[in-house]
Amino acid sequence: MRDVRDDVLALAVAVAATIPLFVHRGDVLTEGAKILLLLLAAMGLNIAMGYAGSPSLGQGGFAAVGAYGVAILVGKDGWDPVAAVLAATAIAAVVAWAVAVGVARLRPPFVALTTWLFAWAVAFAIGAFPALTGGDRGIPVGQPALGLRSIGVHVRPGPPAYFEIALAAVAGGLVLHTNLIRRAGAALAAVRTDASAARAAGVPVEAVRIRSLTAAGAIGGLAGALLVLNAGVADPSSYGPLLSVKLFVVVLLGGVARRLGPAAGLVAVLAISALAAGAAHVFGSSATDVEPIAAAAVLGSLLLFGTDGLIPSLERRARPSPRSFDAAPASIPTVHGGAVRADGIRVSFGGVVALAGCSIDAAPGTCHAIVGPNGSGKTTLLRVLGGAVAPDSGTVRLDGFALTPAGPHRRARDGIVRTLQRTVVQERTSTIDFVAAGVEATQASAFAYAALATPGSRAERALTVRRARRAIGAVGLEGAESIPMGSLNSADQRLLQIARAIASGPRVLLLDEPSAGFGRAAERRLIDVVTMLRDRGMTVIVVEHNLRVVRQVADRVSVLDAGTLIAEGTPVEVERDPAVQAAYLGGFADSMAARATMARPSRRGGAGPGARRTRRV
């Protein structure tokens, strides 16, 4: 696990730490500390915006809360600066948590919108209450001495140790970053790239977003508090929406979800600002004119270089050619399969009744197939079982205990995991990281433990890797662990969805059309995988159009038509049922045998993976 890049970073930090021993000029050290603190705020934002994919424009607002918190406590109430910094950071964390809870369920663009409004609300509030905030003049705090100097010990000349403190904070931030990515990176990547898929795999998406936004806000608050002490004054123009945008652009330019992205982005933005200032000077403009020029320059560079960011564009390598795998599924340890029983499930969307009182009963360690024509409610039933849809009435029981519709991640904790109908692809993610998200989803170790690399979270990490490897082997993809998911063929990508689902060791597996788009060979592999899982004791409930697959894997079959159960039995019994034949073929029952696979129009209109999966035989 030792990464040589970690050592290079540690060396860089150590070298930077010696700067104050040579450079004694106060303005240089203060400016250096300011840049480091901006970097700290950007690194905080990178957790929310980069890793968890919540585009926050509120970071400047959280920084403002920290900044004014510390300024009021130190400048007006005469607090000890260290205590004030801690208190201001805590206040920022609480505010960030409240904002995060409010926006966690929104679509990502609205996260940007609401956090933008938040940043402005903070800025307006600062302007609106000059009695508290000092109005345009701000609150002077006068670079208070910290640490040893506050008790009269001078280690070095120059201003108080803000440069060292800022550097330590950045180094600490880098360590937390590194731990977080290594231990919870897969779950974060899943949330960022495809929240729906992450949810189905059991990742508590909202909780991840709330934690990451809170962490980002707390770090932003800390940076804001230290910025005020370093500058000696809390002035309103330095915090708030403008800072939000600056930090957003810094993270975006550097490359989201990259450890060194914020640093690269900050260097780029500082360079652009310097160029703009130079240009303004040449044309004889005043300093205030620089801002729009700099903003335009940043915008232009975004348009020019794309939005992948600097670090990813340096890393980009040739894409490996597609590889195929064809191993037999490796057996998994015995599973204590769950008994799933749903009774009288009713679901309607607006006026459309999707399920009109459906029941299903899957015995432990059996494979139960759900078939039926398009729009008969198969996927809806699976979503109810998986906790994604709350039924209007009816109960779902696992081993006789009623489950509340509390969301897919709670189901995953209960041992019920679902795959989606579409293929979820994270092109550049290695297959093992893709699968690991399924394990991280159900682990107890929270974010904070992962970031602090507690012994418990280290042990969990080892377990995650072991389980992910086993799941990849179980779907016959042994040897594919380290290659990017984008270079698997489409059938292997689809099998990998199952691997992600079973990685956490569920007792019940819900599969939504696993064979969509499969040729005969891939079909065979799928059948082997499902049969193996069932034989090891897992309960498998599968929605499937391909009756050839159903016939080979299913112990029982439920047939739905227009939201009601019309038949139930073994595959052979069900195929002979006249009601089933009528529902499926509407009088063309004779051709049933010839047409084992039903044509299925894509649910998601237009281009994309959905369209390609439609197959007519």
Binding site: M49, P55, L57, V101, G102, V103, R105, L106, R107, P108, P109, F110, A112, L113, T114, W116, L117, F118, W120, A121, F124, A125, G127, A128, F129, A195, S196, A197, R199, A200, P241, L242, V245, F248, V249, L252, V256, S285, S286, T288, D289, E291, P292, A295, A296, V298, L299, L302, L303, G306, T307, R383, A388, V389, G407, P408, L420, G605, G606
Partner: protein, 313 residues
């Protein structure tokens, strides 16, 4: 608290709300057409208001000699064209490249960067603390209508409300009754389907950006004329419009406009009504900008509609 004061607060609130509503209609329409949030509307409004100011009165103090109705009409006309052009340019130059790349972070960054660039350019070009946009009609010569109890309604407020409602009705007519409006709603409900049946989707979207840009500018000019404007006026107007659009879940134009009217009354109420027993800090002019935005945020946090919420697959 007299009845007259309540009427004054409600009518002036409705007038302000109508202005927010016109911007909010455009904001929501653009979201439904392109799944893009146009953060820069307020700044386009701000830029156009200052363009109007320069043409109508120059940057000096407004006097009888430089404020004439004819000159104001010319200025407003030029500003409307500029607003439409800015709206269309926003789509073609700034947003479309990112939409085509599917880069959400890109268009967010780009629109806020444009907003701040316009703000910065305005602040650099108009250094005075505030400017006065002349009135289109000589309202200052007309006497305010007395409502009793010391409450009055300036004629200007009635003009803002009337013009705002008229523009909203016009926007409603264009969006629901004309061929253009029907085509636009087809694109917003099913872009691919609209393309398949032969609608020029890209041109329609560009036109919608232009129309909503002009609408926002019209709202801005109506709403700010006769009063002091600062370089931040457009931005604050845009933010309140966004708050109104959020209140209505970025839904249909009528819904958005009604939400904006309510928001305007809310703002007028917290600013104008003094509740006995509460300190003046709690309810007063300081809340003019903070109040409506916080209301929008709180409502979204507590009761987000399915339009705003991420679907669970």
């Amino acid at each position: 608290m007299s009845v007259g004061l309540v009427v004054q607060v409600v009518v002036s609130g409705l007038a302000a709300g109508a202005v927010y509503g016109l911007v909010a209609i455009g904001f929501s329409l653009v979201w439904r057409l392109t799944s893009v949030l146009q953060f820069a509307y307020g700044s386009i409004v701000g830029g156009s208001v200052f363009l109007t100011l320069v043409i109508a009165a120059g940057t000096g103090p407004v006097t009888a000699s430089n404020a004439s109705t004819a000159r104001f009409v010319l200025a407003a006309f030029v500003a409307l064209i500029a607003g439409a052009a800015a709206g269309a340019a926003m789509y073609l130059v700034v947003l479309r490249p990112f939409i085509r790349r599917g880069s959400m972070l890109g268009w967010i960054g780009a629109t806020v960067a444009v907003a701040l660039a316009i703000e910065g350019a305005l602040a650099a070009s108009f250094p005075r603390e505030s400017y006065v946009l002349p009135d289109p009609l000589p309202f200052s010569r007309w006497r305010p209508i007395s409502l009793g109890g010391g409450a009055t309604l300036p004629p200007r407020t009635l003009w803002v409300l009337g013009a705002g409602l008229l523009l909203a009705a016009l926007a409603g007519y264009v969006l629901t009754r004309t061929r253009f409006g029907v085509a636009v709603s087809a694109v917003s409900s099913e872009p691919l389907g609209a393309q398949v049946v032969g609608l020029p989707v890209d041109r329609l979207i560009t036109a919608a950006f232009a129309v909503t840009g002009a609408l926002a500018v019209a709202a801005g000019i109506v709403g700010t004329s006769g009063g002091p404007v600062t370089t931040g006026t457009g931005l604050s107007l845009g933010l309140k419009a966004i708050a109104a659009a959020l209140l209505a879940g970025l839904g249909a134009p009528g819904r958005v406009f009604r939400a904006a009217l309510l928001l305007g009354v809310f703002e007028a109420a917290i600013v104008g009504l003094h509740v006995p027993g509460l300190p003046s800090l709690a309810f007063g002019p300081a809340w003019r900008d903070v109040g409506p935005i916080v209301l929008g945020l709180v409502v979204v946090a507590l009761r987000n509609t399915s339009l705003l919420r991420e679907p669970v697959e």
